[in-house]
């Protein structure tokens, strides 16, 4: 009687995609395998895995957000108040007391500026759209697209850019042509 289970298989060789992100509950990291993108969300006690096979990925989208600007404003404001506090202090203890948080805010502001503008990157398949929290900076998104694009094109085959654009336009026109006109007073089905 054969053992009713396939023989043990080793996991594929994974290569880490630089960067990590969080959705406030889980820490998200991405890994590249020869045939899929592995999305790991970890809570610290467990890890959940989602696999996006290269042949199934329909699209990747990136949009710039203002989160980075908001953080710049936050650290800038806190730094401003630290400087005001330090200037109004008349003792060495006051200088140190305001200087330490001020230095921290300078470092945070510098890190945020150097990392560049923030973005939201999403991966689209036929059945789901998932935000890639670890790809949260425009520069990182460009590098990520550069890493993933050739793998997807190898798995799916290449279409000439002009033909691809024509197909998108044709699909768009079909969608408009086939869309039923809205009826006033009737909620969409």
């Amino acid at each position: 009687m054969p053992d009713p289970a396939p023989k043990h298989q080793t996991p594929p060789a994974y290569k880490k995609v630089p960067g990590r992100g969080t959705n406030f509950v889980e820490r998200i990291t991405l890994y590249l395998a020869p045939d899929h993108l592995l999305y790991i969300s970890g809570t610290g006690f467990t890890e959940s895995y989602r696999r996006f096979y290269y042949r199934d990925i329909h699209a990747l989208t990136v949009r710039k957000t203002i989160t980075g600007l908001l953080f710049n404003a936050l650290w800038g404001t806190l730094l401003f108040f630290s400087i005001i506090g330090a200037l109004s202090a008349d003792s060495a203890e006051g200088w140190v007391g305001w200087g330490i948080p001020g230095a921290l805010f300078v470092v945070l502001l510098l890190i945020n500026v150097l990392r560049g503008p923030t973005c939201v990157c999403e991966i689209h398949t036929a059945v789901q759209t998932r935000r890639l929290y670890s790809v949260n900076r425009l520069r990182r998104a460009e590098r990520f697209l550069g890493l993933l694009r050739p793998l997807l094109l190898v798995a799916q085959g290449q279409i000439a850019p002009d033909e691809l654009r024509q197909r998108i336009d044709a699909a768009r026109q079909n969608a408009f042509a086939n869309a039923a006109p809205p009826v006033i007073g009737q909620s969409p089905q």
Partner: protein, 190 residues
């Protein structure tokens, strides 16, 4: 083929012309003016895959499926050898496998490609040793637990991606330091 969500602006969802997709650099959405980059891949234009239906047996002398005896066998399971109809035939890593073998392989942890979650004992040990530091007296209870969890982690499969055992090692060292601190505070401190 209908216009999928992928050919739309990721922020305002307005349809994008082809010229705004697969551009070398980000472009501004004509509707919401957000800086966007939309990369569409050939899979977007492929029709959705349809499932196979098993053929019924209409003549004598034809092998039937092990799981559906009224259905014609089209192949056999590469693991257990049972005849399978088109419905039961699961193609996995270039092999034809029956659902029972696939399930069995998944349960026994032999198919990492099908695993959807794992317990990370080493990270848990580190968290247990680090977390209660905020309330120091709690470490008298949590430090031995952290050491136990760290030891277990050496015998359990870790993350699916390769990583070192440094978390478990750190958890043990940290927990020992915490225990030593407690012993010092209990016996030697005034």
């Amino acid at each position: 083929m209908t216009l999928g969500a992928a050919a739309a602006c990721p922020k305002c969802r307005s349809a994008l012309p082809g010229a705004m997709c697969n551009t070398p650099a980000p472009v501004r959405c004509p509707a919401c003016d957000t800086l966007i980059q939309v990369e569409i891949f050939p899979a977007h234009f492929q029709p959705a895959a349809t499932g196979q239906s098993a053929e019924p047996i209409v003549e004598e002398g034809v092998s039937s499926c092990f799981y559906h005896e009224q259905k014609k066998a089209v192949t056999h399971c590469d693991v257990c050898g049972r005849f399978l109809c088109a419905l039961c035939d699961v193609e996995f890593n270039g092999q034809h496998v029956c659902p029972a073998c696939l399930q069995s392989g998944k349960q026994k942890g032999r198919l990492p490609q099908l695993e959807s979650s794992r317990a990370t004992w080493d990270s848990a040990a580190l968290l247990i040793s680090l977390g209660p530091l905020i309330v120091f007296p709690a470490v008298i209870a949590t430090a031995p637990i952290a050491i136990g969890v760290a030891i277990i982690s050496f015998f359990k499969p870790g993350s699916i991606v390769p990583r070192t055992r440094i978390r478990a090692g750190l958890a043990i060292v940290l927990s020992l330091v915490e225990i030593a601190g407690w012993i010092y505070a209990f016996f030697y401190a005034d």
